[in-house]
C-alpha cells in the first residue's frame, strides 16, 4: 500500500531491440534520456515542472550517476537518483517516485527504466584478477613474477559475464528448467505459449494508434537510423517451428538438467533486449488542475522477497497476492494483467500458482518472450501496456506482476 493514489499522465518507451541490434550503439544514459525527453514532449509538459527523476536499471550505467546523466541529457535539472533491483528495477523506480509524491516532497516526477545489455562491461578472469592483485601486494620482483606464474593464455581473454542468479548461481535457462520441472510444464506448453506471445505482439504492433513506442534516432556508424519498432516479434511463428529449437541445456556444459528431459530453448525463453521506458507521475488533484489527461492511476505498489532457491523469479505472485489482499481486491475482478515474461515456463508456473487468474487476461499484447527481456525497462513498459489495455477494454482494475532473480518480486495495482 502506498497511502494514496498517483496519476499516470503518460508513458512512452523506445523500441525493444535485441542485444547487438539497432540500439546497440546507444548507452543507457542516452537511451534513458531519449525516453524521458519523448515522454515530456508527448505529454506537452515543460521540463521545468519535473522535480524528480528516478532511474531504474539492473546493471546498466557505469558511473553511479546514471540518473543524473539521464536527466541532464533530457534537458532537465532535477534530482535524479538511480535504483537497482534486478528485473524489478523499473517497478522500484516507479514506487520511489510515487512515494516521493505521496510524501509531499515533490509534485511531479518521472520514473525511467532502462537496460542496455549490448553495452556490456567486459571483466577479467578470476586468475588474471588474482595475478594483478598479487603484483600490487608483492614486495620483491621475484614475488611479482611469481604472481603471474600460474596464468594460462586463456586467462588473459576478457570475460563477458554469463548472467547468473547471484544466490543460486543459476542461469536464466537453468532457472526456467527448474521451474518447468517443479511445476510439470512440458516443452510443448512452453512452445505454444511462446508462439502466442509472438502472435499477439505482432498483432498489436500493426496497430499504429495509441502506441507508447517512440522512434529513436540511433547512431549507426557515421549516420543516424531512426528505429521505429521492436525487433523481437516474429510473424507467423508457430509452436511447430519452435519445436525444432535445441534445448539450451544440451549445449551448456554447466547445466544440471539432463539433456534428455530439457525443455527450455532460445525460442521459449526471453532474449535480452536494449530499451528504455519512462512514465510521468503526479498527484491526481494536480493533474486535474493543470488539465492534463491521464492514462490511469496507481493504487498500490508492493514488493516481496521469496526463497530464491524454491520460487526463482516467481516473487511477483507473492507480491501480487499480498497487495490484492491488502487492497481487498479479488483476482477475478482484475481484468488486465501484465506480467514479466523472462521465459514461457515462468508465466505458466505463475498461472498454475494463481488458478483464479484467466490466462487470456495475461500479456494479451505479447510479452518479453516475443519482445525481449529488457531488465530495467520492463516494469515501466508493463505499466504503460496495462494502462493502455485497460483504456481499450474500459477496464477498471489492472495488475502488473514481476519476478526477478534472487527471489525479488513486485506488483502494482492500477485503476482507472
Amino acid at each position: 500500500m502506498m497511502g494514496g493514489r498517483i496519476s499516470v499522465v503518460q508513458t512512452v518507451r523506445t523500441p525493444w531491440c535485441r542485444r547487438g541490434g539497432a540500439l546497440s550503439g546507444m548507452s543507457a544514459a542516452a537511451l534513458g534520456s531519449i525516453a524521458t525527453r519523448e515522454l515530456l514532449l508527448r505529454a506537452d509538459v515543460l521540463p521545468g515542472v519535473i522535480d524528480l527523476v528516478v532511474v531504474g536499471s539492473a546493471r546498466s550505467g557505469t558511473t553511479g550517476s546514471l540518473g543524473a546523466e539521464v536527466a541532464f541529457g533530457a534537458g532537465l535539472s532535477a534530482v535524479a537518483p538511480s535504483v537497482s533491483m534486478g528485473d524489478v528495477s523499473g517497478e522500484r523506480a516507479i514506487a520511489e517516485a510515487a512515494r516521493a509524491i505521496l510524501s509531499g516532497d515533490v509534485d511531479t516526477a518521472v520514473a525511467v527504466g532502462v537496460e542496455t545489455p549490448s553495452d556490456l562491461q567486459l571483466g577479467m578472469s578470476a586468475p588474471l584478477r588474482e595475478a594483478v592483485a598479487g603484483t600490487k601486494l608483492a614486495e620483491t620482483a621475484a614475488d611479482k613474477l611469481r604472481a603471474w606464474a600460474g596464468l594460462k593464455a586463456g586467462d588473459l581473454r576478457p570475460t563477458a559475464a554469463v548472467l547468473r542468479d547471484p544466490l543460486t548461481s543459476e542461469t536464466l535457462a537453468a532457472a526456467a528448467e527448474a521451474v518447468a520441472q517443479r511445476h510439470g510444464i512440458g516443452r510443448d506448453a512452453q512452445d505454444r505459449y511462446a508462439a502466442r506471445s509472438h502472435d499477439r505482439a505482432i498483432e498489436r504492433g500493426r496497430e499504429p494508434g495509441g502506441r507508447d513506442v517512440v522512434p529513436v534516432p540511433a547512431l549507426a556508424g557515421a549516420g543516424v537510423i531512426v528505429v521505429e519498432s521492436d525487433e523481437g516479434p516474429r510473424a507467423r511463428l508457430t509452436a511447430h517451428a519452435l519445436a525444432r529449437e535445441t534445448p539450451i541445456a544440451r549445449t551448456d556444459p554447466t547445466s544440471r538438467t539432463p539433456a534428455s528431459i530439457a525443455t527450455v530453448t532460445a525460442g521459449n525463453l526471453a532474449a535480452e533486449a536494449d530499451g528504455a521506458a519512462a512514465v510521468l507521475l503526479t498527484r491526481p488533484e494536480l493533474a486535474r488542475s493543470r488539465g492534463w489527461s491521464v492514462l490511469g492511476e496507481i493504487d498500490s505498489a508492493r514488493f516481496a522477497a521469496v526463497d530464491p532457491f524454491e520460487r526463482s523469479r516467481l516473487g511477483g505472485v507473492a507480491a501480487a497476492r499480498r497487495m490484492l489482499e491488502d487492497a481487498s481486491v479479488r483476482m477475478a475482478d482484475v481484468a488486465v494483467v501484465e506480467a514479466s515474461e523472462p521465459g514461457a515456463a515462468f508465466v505458466l508456473a505463475m498461472l498454475e500458482s494463481m488458478p483464479e487468474l484467466d490466462p487470456e487476461r495475461v500479456n494479451a499484447w505479447g510479452g518479453s518472450v516475443a519482445l525481449g527481456r529488457c531488465s530495467g525497462g520492463s516494469g515501466v513498459r508493463l505499466l504503460g501496456t496495462a494502462l493502455r489495455r485497460m483504456r481499450e477494454q474500459d477496464a477498471h482494475l489492472g495488475l502488473v506482476a514481476s519476478g526477478a532473480a534472487a527471489g525479488h518480486g513486485a506488483a502494482l495495482l492500477l485503476r482507472r
Binding site: 525527453r37 519523448e38 514532449l41 533530457a74 549516420g223 543516424v224 531512426v226
Partner: protein
C-alpha cells in the same frame, strides 16, 4: 572607462590592476579609451611602489577590437596613421617596462586586444569557449593597427602568424596556448589568481623580462631571409588561387611583411599601411556594411510590443537549413525539436546535426547542445513551443498543410515562421485562421558563413510576430533585415535575376569558366553557375517560374537550360583540378545546342552580372520591398555574397555614378534587350542628379 586599482603584494609593494573597459561598454576600444589607457600607464610608470601590472577586460570580453565607427568616420588618413603610431608606441612602452605586465584574458581578445596582449610579458587566459585570439579585422580590409605584423611572427613563427593575419580566423584559447600566444591556461575562476602569481614570479626575478626575445620558434622558422621570402611568395600564390587576389588589404599585408626587416622605419611602415588601406574604398565599403549591420541588430520594436522570448523552438522540416539552424539555436541554449515526417530524412537531419555538434571542440558545449536538441516524426511537444519554423520543401500546398496542422497544435500565443524560397509569405499563409502570427524568415547557405536573416513582413504580420522573428535572428547570431513580402522578397529576387542571366550567358555560348571567373573577379565569393549547381538547377528553374509569373521574364531560365535541368545535368563535373576546383563540364554547350564556346572577356561578363543584380535591387527598392538602400546593401552583402568591397548594390551603383549607369544601360539595352532597361527610380534619381542616399532618410 578603464579603471586602475591597487592590490597589496607581500613586502609592502603594490600591484596595479588595470581593467580595460570601453567607454560605451561595447568591448571596443576607441580613441577615448586609448587616452585613458595612456594616462593609466603614466600613473603606473611614475609610481615606484608598483611591482607589476595586470591587464584585464571588463565583463565577458577582453577587447573585441577597435571602435570601427571611429575608423570609418576618420576625416583623413593622417588621423588613422597617428592612431596606429600611438598604439605601436604604447606596445613598446609596455614591452620596455621593467615591471612585469600580465594580460589576464577573460574573453575575446581580438584586434587591438591581441596587440596589447602581445606586448605584455606574460599572457594567462581562461579556458572558456568564449576566449578567442585573432585579428579578424582583415575580413573588413583592415591591417593590424599595432605592431602585430612584427610581434606575431616573432612570437609564433611566420607560418602560424600568417594563418592568423591573412585568414583572420580567431583561434580558441587552447590553440593559442599551443602557438605560444598564451603562457598559461587556467579555469575561469582561477584567472585573477594566476595573473597575480605570474606578476609575483616575474617581479621576483628582478625585471619585466620581455618574453619576446629570440625563441626557438624564431630560430626554426623564417630564420633566413630567403626562407621568409619563399613563404610569403607561397602565400601570395595561395591568395590568388583562393580568389582573395583582389583583396587589397591582404596583399598589402604580405607586402609590408616582405619589406619589413630591411632596415626601414618599421613603425612608420606599419602605420602607413594600416591607414592607407583603412581609407581605401574597398575597406570603407566593408566598414559601412559592418556598421549598418550592427545598427540593424539594434532594431527595437515599437513601444508596447514585446518579442516572445524563444526558449523552445520547433522546426518542421529537417533539410540543410532546418538542421543547421537547430544546432545554432541549441548551442545558444534554446530547446529545439525537429519534426521530419520520413524516418530516413529524420536520420539524415540528425546525422547532420550530430556532425556539427561533434566538430565542436568544447565538451561542455557539446553536452549542453545534445541535451537541448532532438528530432521526431510527429508534432509531440509542439504545444509548448514559443516559435515554430517551417522549412519544408517549396510547395505551397505542402507548406499550407503544415500550417494547418500547426494551427491546431501550437499555443495561441506562439509565433509561426515560414522559410520560403520564392513564394510570397502571404500566399503561404492564405488559408490560416490567424495569419497575423505568421512571419517569413530566410537564412542562407552555408549558414555559418552568411550572417543574414531576411525577415519578411506581410501586411497582416503582427508587430509581435515581427519582433519575435527579429529577436530570434539575433539570438542565432544573424543580422536581421526586415523586408516587405512579395514574390522572392529581396534576396531571392536579386539572386534569381543574377543566376538567370548567368544561365542565359551559357545558353548564348559563353564558356562556363569565363562566366564564373568573371563573377569571382568582380568579388562574388562563388561563381553563379557553381552556385546553381549547389542550389540545384531544378530548384532554380522552379524559382524562375514563380518569379516570372509574378514579376516578368527577366527571371526565366532559358528553355535549353531548363531541359538540361530536367535531365539532371550540372555545369560542373565531379572531377577536380590540381587546385581542388571542379572542372566545368565541356559537354554542356553541346547539350544546349550551342556549337562552340564563345570567347568573352571574363571581367566584362562579371561586371554585367553584377549590374543585373544591382538593377534588381533597385527595382526592389522601387517596389518598396526594402525600406531603404542601406538595408538592401547589407542584405545583399551578408546574404548573397554581393561583392563586399563594393558595399552592396546601391553603394556600388552610386560609385559608378547614376548618370553614367543610365547611359551604360541604354547602350546595353540596345545590344542585349530589356534585361538592361533602367528602372524608373534610377532614371528619376539620375535626372535629378541625386543618388540613393537621398532615400535613406525616408526610413
Amino acid at each position: 572607462m578603464t579603471e586602475l586599482e591597487y592590490r597589496a603584494l607581500p613586502g609592502g609593494r603594490r600591484l596595479a590592476w588595470v581593467t580595460v573597459r570601453s567607454a560605451d561598454d561595447s568591448g571596443r576600444f576607441g580613441l577615448g579609451d586609448l587616452d585613458r589607457f595612456e594616462s593609466v600607464l603614466d600613473t603606473v610608470e611614475g609610481d615606484a611602489d608598483v611591482a607589476g601590472v595586470v591587464l584585464r577586460g571588463h565583463g565577458a570580453v577582453f577587447i573585441d577590437g577597435l571602435r570601427l565607427d571611429e575608423v570609418e568616420r576618420a576625416p583623413d588618413r593622417r588621423r588613422l596613421e597617428a592612431l596606429s603610431r600611438r598604439i605601436v608606441h604604447t606596445q613598446a612602452r609596455i614591452g620596455r617596462s621593467r615591471r612585469p605586465f600580465v594580460a589576464a584574458v577573460n574573453g575575446p581578445c581580438l584586434d587591438v586586444g591581441l596587440e596589447l596582449a602581445l606586448a605584455c610579458h606574460a599572457v594567462v587566459a581562461a579556458d572558456d569557449p568564449r576566449v578567442v585570439f585573432g585579428l579578424p579585422q582583415i575580413e573588413l580590409g583592415l591591417l593590424p593597427v599595432g605592431d602585430a605584423l612584427r610581434r606575431l611572427p616573432r612570437r609564433v613563427g611566420l607560418e602560424p602568424a600568417l594563418e592568423l593575419l591573412v585568414r583572420g580566423l580567431p583561434v580558441p584559447a587552447a590553440q593559442a596556448r599551443r602557438l605560444g600566444l598564451v603562457h598559461e591556461l587556467v579555469r575561469g575562476e582561477g584567472l585573477d589568481a594566476a595573473a597575480v602569481a605570474l606578476v609575483k614570479t616575474r617581479a621576483g626575478s628582478g625585471s619585466g623580462g620581455p618574453s619576446d626575445g629570440t625563441s626557438w620558434r624564431q630560430r626554426l622558422s623564417g630564420a633566413t631571409l630567403l626562407r621568409k621570402k619563399r613563404t610569403l611568395q607561397r602565400w601570395q600564390q595561395t591568395l590568388r588561387a583562393d580568389g582573395h587576389g583582389l583583396d587589397a588589404a591582404r596583399l598589402s599585408l604580405l607586402d609590408v611583411l616582405s619589406r619589413a626587416g630591411g632596415g626601414a622605419d618599421e613603425d612608420a611602415l606599419a602605420a602607413a599601411a594600416f591607414s592607407e588601406t583603412a581609407v581605401g574604398d574597398a575597406t570603407v565599403a566593408r566598414l559601412q556594411t559592418w556598421l549598418r549591420a550592427r545598427a540593424l541588430e539594434g532594431w527595437s520594436p515599437p513601444s508596447g510590443v514585446r518579442a516572445v522570448p524563444v526558449r523552445r523552438l520547433g522546426i518542421v522540416g529537417g533539410g540543410v537549413i532546418g538542421a543547421d539552424l537547430a544546432v545554432e539555436a541549441a548551442r545558444r541554449g534554446t530547446t529545439v525539436r525537429i519534426r521530419e515526417k520520413a524516418p530516413p530524412a529524420l536520420g539524415r537531419a540528425l546525422a547532420r546535426v550530430e556532425r556539427h555538434i561533434a566538430s565542436n571542440p568544447d565538451l561542455q558545449s557539446r553536452t549542453r547542445t545534445r541535451a537541448q536538441l532532438s528530432g521526431g516524426l510527429e508534432l509531440d511537444g509542439f504545444a509548448t513551443m514559443d516559435l515554430v519554423l517551417e522549412a519544408v520543401p517549396e510547395e505551397v500546398s505542402v507548406k499550407r498543410r503544415v500550417f494547418a496542422e500547426l494551427e491546431d497544435r501550437v499555443r495561441p500565443d506562439a509565433v509561426l515562421a515560414t522559410h520560403p524560397r520564392a513564394t510570397s509569405v502571404t500566399e503561404i499563409g492564405a488559408r490560416m485562421r490567424h495569419p497575423e502570427r505568421l512571419v517569413g524568415v530566410r537564412f542562407f547557405r552555408p549558414l555559418s558563413r552568411r550572417p543574414l536573416c531576411e525577415v519578411v513582413r506581410t501586411t497582416t504580420t503582427s508587430p509581435r510576430a515581427l519582433a519575435t522573428a527579429v529577436d530570434f535572428a539575433r539570438r542565432v547570431g544573424k543580422t536581421p533585415v526586415i523586408v516587405r513580402d512579395g514574390p522572392g522578397f529581396f534576396t531571392t529576387r536579386v539572386l534569381a535575376a543574377y543566376v538567370a542571366y548567368a544561365a542565359e550567358l551559357v545558353a548564348a555560348g559563353h564558356a562556363i569558366a569565363d562566366i564564373d571567373r568573371g563573377a569571382r573577379r568582380a568579388g562574388w565569393p562563388i561563381g553563379p553557375l557553381r552556385l546553381l549547381d549547389d542550389l540545384g538547377l531544378a530548384t532554380a528553374v522552379r524559382v524562375g517560374h514563380v518569379l516570372t509569373e509574378a514579376l516578368g521574364s527577366r527571371f526565366a531560365v532559358p528553355p535549353s537550360v531548363e531541359a538540361m535541368a530536367a535531365a539532371g545535368r550540372r555545369f560542373y563535373t565531379d572531377a577536380r583540378r590540381d587546385g581542388g576546383e571542379r572542372e566545368p563540364d565541356d559537354r554542356v554547350h553541346g547539350l544546349l545546342g550551342v556549337r562552340s564556346a564563345r570567347v568573352g572577356d571574363p571581367d566584362e561578363l562579371g561586371d554585367r552580372l553584377t549590374l543585373i543584380a544591382g538593377l534588381e535591387a533597385v527595382r526592389c527598392l522601387q517596389d518598396g520591398v526594402v525600406g531603404c538602400p542601406s538595408d538592401g546593401d547589407v542584405a545583399a552583402v551578408l546574404g548573397l555574397g554581393y561583392p563586399a568591397q563594393r558595399g552592396g548594390p546601391f553603394r556600388h551603383l552610386a560609385a559608378r555614378g547614376l548618370g553614367a549607369t543610365r547611359s551604360r544601360l541604354a547602350a546595353l539595352e540596345d545590344r542585349f534587350g530589356s534585361r538592361y532597361t533602367a528602372p524608373s527610380l534610377l532614371l528619376e534619381l539620375a535626372q535629378r542628379g541625386a543618388d540613393f542616399s537621398s532615400l535613406e532618410a525616408s526610413r
